[in-house]
Symmetry: C2
Subunit: 431 residues, 2 copies
Amino acid sequence: MVPHLITSLTGPINELEARIIDSMPAIERWFRLEWMEHTPPFYTSVDLRNAGFKLAPVDTNLFPGGFNNLTPEMLPLAVQAAMAAVEKICPEAKNLLLVPEKHTRNPFYLMNVQRLMQIFTQAGLNVRLGSLDAAIKEPTRLALPDGSELLVEPLVRNRGRLGLKDFDPCTILLNNDLSAGIPGVLEDLHQQYLLPPLHAGWAVRRKSLHFQSYEEVAKKFAKLLGMDPWLINPMYTQCGKVNFSEGAGIECVKSNAEALIAKIRRKYKEYGINEKPFVIVKADAGTYGMGIMTVRDPKELDELNRRTRNKMSVIKDGQEVTEVIIQEGVPTYERVNDAVAEPVVYMIDRYVVGGFYRVHADRGIDENLNAPGSSFVPLAFAESNLLPKAGSKPGASAPNRFYMYGVIARLAMLAASYELEATDPEAEIYE
Amino acid sequence: MVPHLITSLTGPINELEARIIDSMPAIERWFRLEWMEHTPPFYTSVDLRNAGFKLAPVDTNLFPGGFNNLTPEMLPLAVQAAMAAVEKICPEAKNLLLVPEKHTRNPFYLMNVQRLMQIFTQAGLNVRLGSLDAAIKEPTRLALPDGSELLVEPLVRNRGRLGLKDFDPCTILLNNDLSAGIPGVLEDLHQQYLLPPLHAGWAVRRKSLHFQSYEEVAKKFAKLLGMDPWLINPMYTQCGKVNFSEGAGIECVKSNAEALIAKIRRKYKEYGINEKPFVIVKADAGTYGMGIMTVRDPKELDELNRRTRNKMSVIKDGQEVTEVIIQEGVPTYERVNDAVAEPVVYMIDRYVVGGFYRVHADRGIDENLNAPGSSFVPLAFAESNLLPKAGSKPGASAPNRFYMYGVIARLAMLAASYELEATDPEAEIYE
């Protein structure tokens, strides 16, 4: 299904699209060369915002939880990419242990887990689920909306190896982002492949470092295409010691927001963009769309109400927010049936395998859409993303737009790869 | 589009399908391990025959010429597989030189060339066409049915490298099966990747060696699944000095055909198959569906008419037939709209990327369908081949059937890989 889209793609983004389509072989070669030097994350999803004058990733998830939102038509690509990934990591693998989020009976999330099991089963692995939830003391069946069930089993740790009863996996695939910290049972697993690595979890990861890496990637890519990296790069600053509930450190957020808004205003002026700049303040280690606020005027920060303070204080798994990233707000001008929409691109290994639009009827173009009330419309990525057509009018061809989305999402994935190298505790240092 | 099929899948093949679906992770792992030791051909197509009691490859093409018969939905898989292939062979590649069949203005073949160019362009390469045809002395435009054009250019050989004017490729991809012999211009290209290698062409290749390798692969696979390899392996013998037009060496063909028919009859008896055995006599180095005859009774060989003698004497590019393979005939019990059909599976690198049914309304179930008058019905492979479903009734699920076809086709591809190792003139020998 191709969603009905009303998108105002204007000026710079049409030029960007045309340049990307024209440079396709050069871009693909550039990615090939980057992947010779850097290892892609095992799987990645990237939220994009297309403002018409700018297209940028705003969030890069290394534990994607929406595989159920991909259309069945995208499955073969996902299976093929999973085969390529498995082959590189552990070709002799028989068994894959999948560790999902704990404490969740959210049927959408469980459908994501089911879809992941399907993908890796079809890639040729025996897949079973092991839970980090201490309450799972015996094999437990979780019901799915389609009437089927998932069987979640307690983890069994034997010295250097993690598995289940009578199940010794070669690879452990985390679909749990470790927001609550790194559980002991996952530490020191040197005999098995643990993917993504522990330092990809939110116990270690910081958005600000990701966007620092992304800036580096965006600059390289912009040089390749001879363009201003700002067209694809959201500017950001950060504050390290914030306590919203006590009102501490808010001054830093305010002054950084002021400075960033001034920088955005200059860029808008340079490009003749008639928009009101805004910034997004987000927990630097946050996820699940929690701990996010839109700031249109820094003065708003002086008078935060209790609800906002609470919202910004505690995020997933009850973690307190003390570090925030202040990011250039990129409005989204994409619409699905009049509701504000943003594209989400899914990747396995280095391959784009699908995507969808996150749609929210009650949110504005400058607000976070990853919030209760959002829904998902599959993108016709499977048919289109790999099939751009030179010579189409910029902004008028869905395959060309999806190809562009796939390119920008892969830049964010490459940034995550740089980021994971920088934070790898076992990295060898050559100086 | 899923073709309307009437297939009588009975007895053994349903059991084979059930066994293959149940063993899927073991099968995929087995392939992964085989591909650690052996390099898949760059691209491969395999003709299968499903007799209901037996499913076997009958022809393995290392220069597939029907990419145009794949549905557009299969393209993304082909592009992704091509990316994986390019990445392994020559990741720094910018340019790919594609060498098509010469002397052909067949619009279907030209559409195949166009499709190949599209796949490799979208995998991120600059693709141009270079002709082995000495008559192509300057860039020549060939019209396609859709109104577009292909530009074919004369090859330029500079010492160790082959290219076009102002075009120096990293990889040369042959879509010309070298039936006419190995042209000097392709020899000693040690600085570039020439794929498939010269010894994959029909100047060197022999069907009998392929099926010898296939027998080895089928035995290994049958052991993995605990079954009789005959269920997937067509038996064969060969004759080396035959001249149909002069009537020489036909005695060898006749006695081998008699012996093979007797062997088939014993197998049919063992399985209670109520069919009349037959054999197929084919040029050992032949292709294009030329030089093929069905022999139901060896006595027919005593009284070959002039037309048949001529048909069996000369094949593609005017090559004389002197070696033949006598292969167990596998009837096809697949039907598309009442016409006899056989599945053809397309692969790039180790991945199944699509397939179609070759359909011939005027041919019998025991005849070669690769003949004038055949047409093509795309298989819904892209959606289905990678998505088998455990628990479906054997013979009743299209995805399970297509998965089985993909497995048997990959066995034939693996056999081709063994075969190319055995015939590699540059192979190092460890004894």
